[in-house]
Amino acid sequence: MTSTRATAVLVPVLSVLLSFLVGGVIVVISGHDPLAAYVALLQGAFGSVFNLANTLTVAVPLMLAGLGVAFTFRAGLFNIGAEGQYWLGSIAAAWVGYAVHGLPVWVHLPLALLAGTLAGALWAALIPGVLKAWTGAHEVITTMMMSYIAINLARYLIEGGPMMAPGYTPQSPAVLPTATLPALVPGTQLSWGLVLAVLAAVAVWFVLYRTTFGFEVRAAGLNGRAARYAGMNVARIIVLAMFVSGALAGLAGAVQTLGVNHRLFDAFNAGYGYTAIVVALLGKNNPWGVLAAAVLFGALNAGASAMQMQAGVPAHLVDVVQGMIIFFIAVDGIIRSVLRRTRKEAAQA
């Protein structure tokens, strides 16, 4: 069956193309030129070193959190709360970044990254993971609820809470230079976080396919009962998988805070955790696929403002396209049935 493998790649690709097509129709209806819009979008995303750096800057947290979501999908879990884990990562990294003084860079920066990673990991594992493993409470709902708790917690901390910087702006103090992730491309916001994200993808692949833990995750994710019968401790696998997933989302928050935002503030960087779910789905939970999908969504977001400025098409179009992509990926029966029909017609012709 060579056609099944082809279909596996074709479905995401066609989903993306079809979504852009639907987006184009909406652009036409609202009286704009879709070609001009997409050209502006592409240029805004890839047209210069600066633009490309912007695209990758957005892609970095999506890669990391997307890998995290993909990891739980592999374990048969749906971590819809990467957003909350991302926030916890941001909070912890920001705090270690500004509050801990007198450390050299090579201690302070890893410490801040580690703090964010650990905070995200515990946020996912301690409550949603443990509850899923021992009471069966559905992780979709618990992680979603934990996200909102995290966002409210972050607001509390910087709106008059203990992490608020002096003054009236709801934000934390800036992280110290010793905890700042240096820029990868000078003059842009793209930090060494990109390297971390690629390394994380390699690590996720290695864990899934070369370690006994990854073997357990894949087995339990595909058939938890058989995994239990084979002697695996499925409750432990669930908690650990949530831990790893939260760690990656927490690292995403830490990288964003230490490399791009340099402090914790409200709302501006919200939403990476949600988009990460789309990234994982589009990347078919494959580490390399996740990297590619993250770049696509980075490009969409980075190019959106250029599209709005140059072609006059509202930047929200990229959300429409994003929504359509999830829809077509989820309802891949639509695309599969189209593929089947075209193959049949090709065979008859």
Partner: protein, 311 residues
Amino acid sequence: MNGSEIFNAQLWMTALSSATPLALAALGGTFSERTGVVNIAMEGMMLTGAFVAVLASATLHSAFLGLAAAILSGMLMAVLFAWGTIRYKADQVVVGMAINVLAAGLTGYLLNAIYGFTGTPPDTPRLPDVTIPGLAQMPGIGAVLGRADLLVYVMLLLVPLSHYFLFRTPLGLRMRAVGEHPQAADTAGIDVNRLRFLGVLISGALSGMAGAYISIGVLNAFNVNMTNGRGYIALAAMIFGNWKPVGAFLAAALFGLANALAINLQGLEGWHVSKDFVLMIPYALTILALAGIVRRTTPPAADGIPYEPGH
């Protein structure tokens, strides 16, 4: 203001007002999930309803037409949701997310495309307040329940009606059967997918109505991502209400009260609990309920599972 003054009439009014969209959407969610379709798409249906309500109300100069359009638009999103989840048996959570992202994009896009940067027209008609003669004059309760937006009363009426419909009518029995054991319903001659479609459609209508309340009930304007996660709180209320209309209403009322408290706490001196902690209450309670710590919840047995006949 001090501690004893916090439970004033204003608080209860705010609580009722906050609870109304939550309860409307949560009631709708009950119909959807009772037939076996997990519906996280309420957020998107609500947001669509909120935008379309303003669009229609401003264009047609009628808040009632705005409300009708909002309901229809919620149902339209529900059709899309149902098409993916029922016809194509796609993952309900993922399609729900798609609807939410799509709704955020579409409403943001159209807001900008139609109204530019100035926002929705300031002369958009708003849904009228209704005064209940007699009740309004009663001390205490009159200040809270005597005069409110039309949809507040609609919501209060829909609670017992939904309960009656689900638990006392033949159609309600069939819908519950479909959510508990679709094969059994199918072999009893019930069209499983049609009833699931109906459940999702009702959910869309009520979510659209909830959206209209937010945009043209409380205010007369729409702004980007106006629902701000209320669809998810409504989902939480439905779960905390144990998939029952009355339970969903009570949970929505509790969550509304938490919201009202959070608002009132801001003006309170000598009080050290941040409003942000009060706002966490609904989420925390829902987690505890799911874990069986606060109360026992039991979802419909086939909730979330697409139906494959002959299996």
